[in-house]
Amino acid sequence: MSFEIIGTYLVGICLLIGSGFALVGTIGLLKFNDPMTRLHAPTKVGTIGIGALLLASMIHSYTYGDGSMHELLIMAFLFVTAPISANFIAKVNIHKGSCETPPAPPRDDTWSTLNVPEADRTLFPVEEE
């Protein structure tokens, strides 16, 4: 009996933490006015927000049912794929010139995103050229 009560409270705390960070992430998404800073807000939702919600789901399933480990997989796949979408949004921002132009790399010629063939540059003109 007491085991179930502890489980219920833990689930409640995890849900509150998760939804709190999701709320802050959404506030950040609305508040910031520059595409690059806006990109930072959802990273919180993607890590600790989802993490706490999945932890709540795991605790619930172990308290009331026969347990479930699927959440670990969701977490792992999310952690592997989230940086890729952030990376693509950042690259689009660099291309559209909607943020400060990044400083040139010290040892190589240019950033790989800006390294497009001459023929294609007129399609998506880069700010600095």
Binding site: T37, E100, R107, D109
Partner: protein
């Protein structure tokens, strides 16, 4: 014997990982599931080995584990810091910055893990790699001292990754 092992397991760690994912997907642990997972691990790695001929170098698994713990802890701390920035710092006082991280790592796998770590830690997003892979472009949400952030990435993550990917 070793040649047969290399033939059967082109990527031994990937085989183990696929078997583990299969067991987690099934949600129950039994001998049959382990055998089926290992069979899947062998078939998939053999089938895709043509497109991934080079095996990644040795990985120090114990250090990889402690690295994951450190990263998870950092994610939690940084989450709270960034949540506070989102709520308390007004837009016109925000100081975003680009940081250029010169890389000492050379293995593509190691650079991928470093870039992923930087993005997962709130407050920093890795945006791009230079065309020959010698530096990493990182965007920071709010910083007073970009050099300190750069030193932290180099010291905390890259130094450890150099010990993991031998």
């Amino acid at each position: 014997m070793t040649r047969f092992f290399h033939w059967l397991f082109p990527h031994p760690l990937l085989t183990v990982l696929l078997a583990l994912v299969w067991i987690l997907l099934q949600n129950n642990f039994s001998a049959g599931m382990v055998v089926y997972g290992v069979i899947l691990g062998i078939v998939i790695t053999k089938g895709t080995a043509v497109w991934w001929p080079e095996r990644p170098g040795n990985i120090n698994l114990a250090r990889m584990f402690s690295y994951s713990i450190i990263v998870l802890w950092d994610i939690m701390i940084a989450n709270i810091q960034v949540a506070w920035i989102v709520i308390s710092v007004p837009n016109n006082k925000l100081k975003p910055a680009w940081i250029v991280v010169p890389l000492d790592l050379v293995q593509p796998e190691a650079i991928t893990v470093l870039a992923g770590t930087i993005t997962l830690t709130p407050g920093t997003v890795s945006a791009d790699l230079s065309d020959e892979g010698h530096s990493l472009l990182v965007h920071v949400l709010h910083t007073d001292d970009p050099q300190a952030d750069l030193d932290e990435i180099k010291q905390r993550y890259e130094r450890r990754l150099k010990e993991i990917f031998l």
